[in-house]
């Protein structure tokens, strides 16, 4: 290389550096203007203007922009005065100047800047673009994901700038993915670039990647479309397999709900033989107990909210158990051995309980909140598992085994089995059969109450809650085999999984009908259910 050439290069470098500086200065000046224009746009109370302002803020690079955008997201960005100006509402309702964050000189009447879904999306994208350069790697990664989701072409320059500076490999791969997601649908890029983007996104292999791959424009080169089609096919095949696993998981989850609802009935109907139509109302009472517990906690001990369900479980058990004992002592004990009368009487009790709750708490739904450890979801492979459902499965199994242990290992369990198997023999051995009857019914009711605590998390807490579970409960107990707890477990899980495997093909309505038909045919073949109880007791 000659010296003149070297000089020439130096000059070129200097020139471009100067040009950059000049541009930076220009940008700096333009920025002050841009952001004030954007701020005045925020005062028009029109969603279009707010969206445009957000776009300008995201690209302005102004240090105040991030604060303004997050204030808007939190509903703390307000406007008012004449001419209208924007303020950030600080703690205690003080109005702050959005640029300086100092208290504003005057305090006009203000209204919050309104936000709709479109604006919310723009906030997400702007937030993403703004925090791409945050010093916190976690935030940068989240920002990259947000930009990738929004697939906002306007964020591309910011993304590329951030990418050039990024050193953290995790953040970098997120940014690369975001960039690829945007590039896939962008006009005017080379096929090679697009194919690279398609491959990068395709490697993700999830539902979102599928959506992005499908957005390859019609005008793209054939080899790009080919690459996208291959990637889509691969993902779909993979996802179909995971989909099967997901359906089984849904089935187990539904099965656990059925198990919870039916397990109390497995005692009152299965063990005692009482056709208990008020069983669903016991579940409902358990749910309302949870509501009351949460109300008390909310007003008096807000710190305990996450423990509200744990507190509600024993209370619900005691309360519904007590109601169960009361019902047994006052009504059912006069009706043993008269199935039809028991059915009618317990149905009447169920109506009384429903209307009582309706009178006390009103006919509308009551809000039962989810503690934080039951919210959210996580993924194993492509299997998405919601925490709430997982806990309900765990809880259902815990209740099941606790009940099994009670019947097998405790004295009262032994007496219960003795009385149901041979009442007269048990009585002559000195067991107080009356007392055991009351306790058994109370136990079944109490367990229904516990189920109500769990079901309050996934269903309405309304006076009608129990009605929706009574048929399913009977179905499970009869299908599983009357008098056999293991039958209830297997029956619930079988019905749950079968229902969820049928649903994608037959739809929710037909699926349910098909399941009922199958169960009816099964009962024709095996009248005593999956696990028939053998022995003399069944004949008495």
């Amino acid at each position: 290389m000659t010296s003149s050439a070297r000089l020439f290069r130096l000059a070129r470098v200097l020139c471009s550096a100067l040009a950059l500086l000049l541009a930076a200065a220009l940008v700096q000046r333009a920025e002050a203007q841009d952001i004030s224009a954007a701020l005045s746009q925020l005062t028009t109370n029109k969603y279009d203007d707010t969206e445009a302002a957000l776009g300008a803020l995201a690209l302005s690079g102004s240090p105040a922009a991030a604060g303004i955008v997050s204030a808007l997201a939190d509903g703390k960005l307000v406007f008012g005065g004449l001419p209208p100006r924007v303020f950030i509402e600080g703690p205690g309702g003080a109005l702050l100047d959005p640029l300086t964050m100092q208290p504003a000189a005057d305090a006009p009447a203000v209204k919050p800047v309104r936000v709709n879904n479109r604006v919310r999306r723009a906030i997400e994208a702007a937030n993403g673009a703004l925090s791409l350069v945050s010093p916190d790697a976690g935030k940068r990664r989240e920002a990259a994901l947000a930009v990738g989701r929004s697939r906002d072409e306007a964020a591309l320059p910011a993304l590329e700038m951030a990418l050039a500076k990024e050193s953290d490999p995790k953040v970098k791969s997120a940014m690369n993915l975001a960039r690829a997601s945007i590039l896939i649908a962008k006009e005017g890029i080379t096929p090679a670039e697009r194919i690279a983007a398609v491959e990068l996104v395709g490697a993700e292999g999830n539902q979102d990647a599928l959506a992005i791959l499908r957005s390859v424009p019609e005008s793209a080169a054939p080899e790009v479309k080919q690459a996208a089609a291959v990637a889509i096919e691969g993902i779909e095949r993979n996802l179909a397999m995971w989909g099967m696993a997901q359906n089984v998981w849904y089935g187990l989850s539904l099965g656990s709900v059925l198990l919870l609802a039916a397990i109390g009935l497995a005692i009152t109907f299965g063990v005692m033989g009482v056709i208990n139509m008020a069983h669903g109302e016991m579940v409902m009472l358990g749910a309302y107990t949870t509501f009351v517990v949460q109300e008390v906690i909310r007003t008096s001990y807000p710190g305990l909210f996450d423990a509200s369900l744990l507190i509600a479980i024993p209370l619900a058990f005691l309360f519904t158990g007590l109601i169960g004992v009361l019902i047994e002592r006052t009504v059912i004990r006069f009706l043993y051995g008269r199935a039809l009368e028991t059915l009618l009487a317990t149905w009447g009790i169920s109506l009384i309980l429903q209307q009582a709750i309706r009178t006390i708490f009103g006919p509308t739904n009551r809000e039962v909140g989810a503690p934080s450890w039951m919210s959210g979801s996580f993924e194993i492979g492509h299997l998405s598992i919601t925490s709430g459902r997982l806990w309900i499965i765990v809880f259902a199994l815990l209740v099941f085994f606790a009940l099994l242990a009670t019947l097998r290992l405790t004295r009262i369990g032994l007496e219960m089995r003795a009385v149901t198997q041979n009442r007269r023999m048990a009585a002559s051995m000195g067991i107080r059969t009356n007392w055991v009857d009351a306790m058994t019914f109370g136990l079944g009711s109490g367990i229904a109450g516990i189920a109500g605590v769990a079901l309050s998390q996934i269903d309405n807490v309304s006076p009608n809650l129990g009605q929706s579970y009574i048929i399913d409960s009977f179905l499970v107990v009869v299908f599983g085999g009357v008098g056999n707890l293991w039958g209830t477990l297997v029956g619930a899980m079988t019905l749950g999984v079968a229902n969820k495997l049928l649903e994608p093909y037959a739809g929710a309505v037909l699926g349910k009908i098909a399941l009922l038909v199958i169960v009816i045919l099964f009962i024709q073949k095996r009248p005593r259910g999956l696990f028939a109880l053998k022995g003399r007791s069944i004949e008495t």
């Binding site: 879904n117 479109r118 959506a211 996934i458 929706s468």
Partner: protein, 435 residues
């Protein structure tokens, strides 16, 4: 328990009750001449009590307000409340009791379409007036019924238009509970979407049983349907109790309104009162009224309502507004006719205009439906709605949808000389579908 006792009583001895009723009626002759009776036919027990109880309270509130303002035609109003207990045949029985035994001048009632269909023959036979305050599927216009809720074109179609224009939605999930209202509305919407150029494969229709509580599969399907690279929205005609688990599942599976917005036609302030609304932020509802409508008439109404119910958190909702409008229309028509006689009031009602609660006026049209503005609201964190769109003018109900084969040639006009609820403009005959 009222219901059970009435049943038992009826079984025990109809004659005895009849005699008692006669005695009561005889004793009340003097007072009966001074009051005008208003029937309230809303379920106070059973599944529908959740929605209908509020409407019973609304009518009682309106009666009290009207009496405080001097009554109607110089007489006080007297509300007669019966409980049809969410039991459709019982609706017809109770309607007969109100009209034939209690001699009410007008009935405010029904929520579900099947309950309305059940009482129709009774109102025709005994020639009385029913005000029906709930949004419904249309495809009906009866001489004895005045529909103050929305027809599909006053709710569903503007909602779809909003999503198309403002959210650029190209792919649609029509999810509903499996009964007549969602099925008819979805049929209309499907035809409408196709007329707008939406392709068959971009529409997914899904029905679920009443009270469906396990939404895992369906929400996962919606998520999958929504990942086809086109903006997707859910149009929900899911009814009643099934909504809470549906929205909970949406939240659990991380579907936000910014990804896949859900616009609902059966979710209002009352329904939201029982849900944790944080995960619902930004999902939409289309109604003709929201509690958050910012006009003095509405503020005044809410204040009086909360004072009447002695509950400063009691919400208002769309079917309540429809009840209020219907009630005021009836009062005005009775004053115009100068009598409570059904024929005179039915004729007088057409053309009656009363203020609605969203700052405008609603008029009773010759098809026995009313004009309404359409409002689209996004759910806010406090369980209220942020109104993001309001139609500039009032919309006239299309009781017979132009998007359905069987009904596009039909019109309803209860004025003379047509005097017909299903006039076929093609054949020029009153009565039924086109050939």
């Amino acid at each position: 328990m009222l219901n059970m006792f009435t049943h038992a009583r009826r079984m025990a001895g109809r004659a005895l009750v009849g005699a008692a009723a006669l005695a009561l009626a005889g004793g009340g002759v003097a007072s009966a001449q001074e009051t005008i009776k208003v029937g309230v036919l809303h379920s106070l027990s059973g599944t529908m009590a959740i929605s209908e109880t509020t409407l019973k309270d609304t009518v009682l509130f309106m009666v009290q307000e009207q009496n405080a303002a001097g009554g109607v035609l110089g007489k006080k109003l007297e509300a007669v409340v019966v409980d049809p207990a969410s039991n459709w045949p019982l609706f017809a029985e109770k309607a007969r009791e109100l009209i034939a035994k209690e001699k009410v001048a007008v009935v405010f009632g029904c929520w579900t379409s099947v309950s309305r269909k059940s009482v129709l023959p009774v109102f025709k036979e005994l020639n009385s007036i029913l005000f029906y305050p709930v949004q419904y599927e249309g495809e009906e216009s009866e001489r004895n019924v005045f529909y103050t809720g929305a027809a599909p074109n006053q709710q569903a179609i503007p909602a779809v238009d909003y999503l198309m224009a403002n959210e650029d939605v190209e792919r649609w999930v029509l999810a509903g509970t499996d009964y007549v209202y969602p099925r008819t509305t979805n049929k209309i919407l499907e035809a409408y979407l196709k007329s707008k150029g939406v392709k068959e494969e971009d529409i997914m229709i899904n029905y679920t049983p009443f009270g469906h509580s396990d939404w895992q599969t369906i929400v996962a399907d919606i998520k999958k349907f929504g990942s086809a690279g086109k903006k997707t929205a859910v149009v929900s005609t899911i009814n009643g109790d099934a909504n809470v688990p549906f929205y909970k599942e949406l939240g659990n599976q991380g579907i936000k309104a910014t990804d896949i917005p859900v616009v609902a036609f059966s979710v209002g302030e009352e329904e939201l009162a029982g849900i944790d609304t944080k995960p619902l932020l930004g999902h939409l509802a289309a109604w003709n009224y929201f509690q958050s409508v910012d006009v003095p008439e509405n503020a005044d109404f809410i204040k009086k309502w909360q004072a009447y119910t002695k509950n400063d958190k009691r919400v208002t909702n769309d079917p309540m507004e429809a009840t209020v409008i219907g009630f005021n229309m009836w009062v005005k028509a009775v004053e115009k006719a100068g009598t409570t006689d059904a024929d005179a009031v039915i004729d007088a009602l057409i053309g009656i205009t009363v203020p609605n609660l969203s700052g405008g006026f609603s008029a009773m049209m010759p098809n026995h439906h009313i004009t309404k503005p359409v409002l689209i609201g996004e759910i806010k964190e406090d369980g209220q709605f942020d109104i993001v769109e309001q139609t500039p003018g009032l919309i006239v109900a299309e009781e017979w949808s132009p998007y359905l084969e069987g009904s596009k040639d039909l019109i309803a006009d209860w004025r003379k000389p047509l005097n017909c609820g299903n006039f076929n403009v093609k054949t020029g005959k009153c009565g039924g579908a086109g050939q």
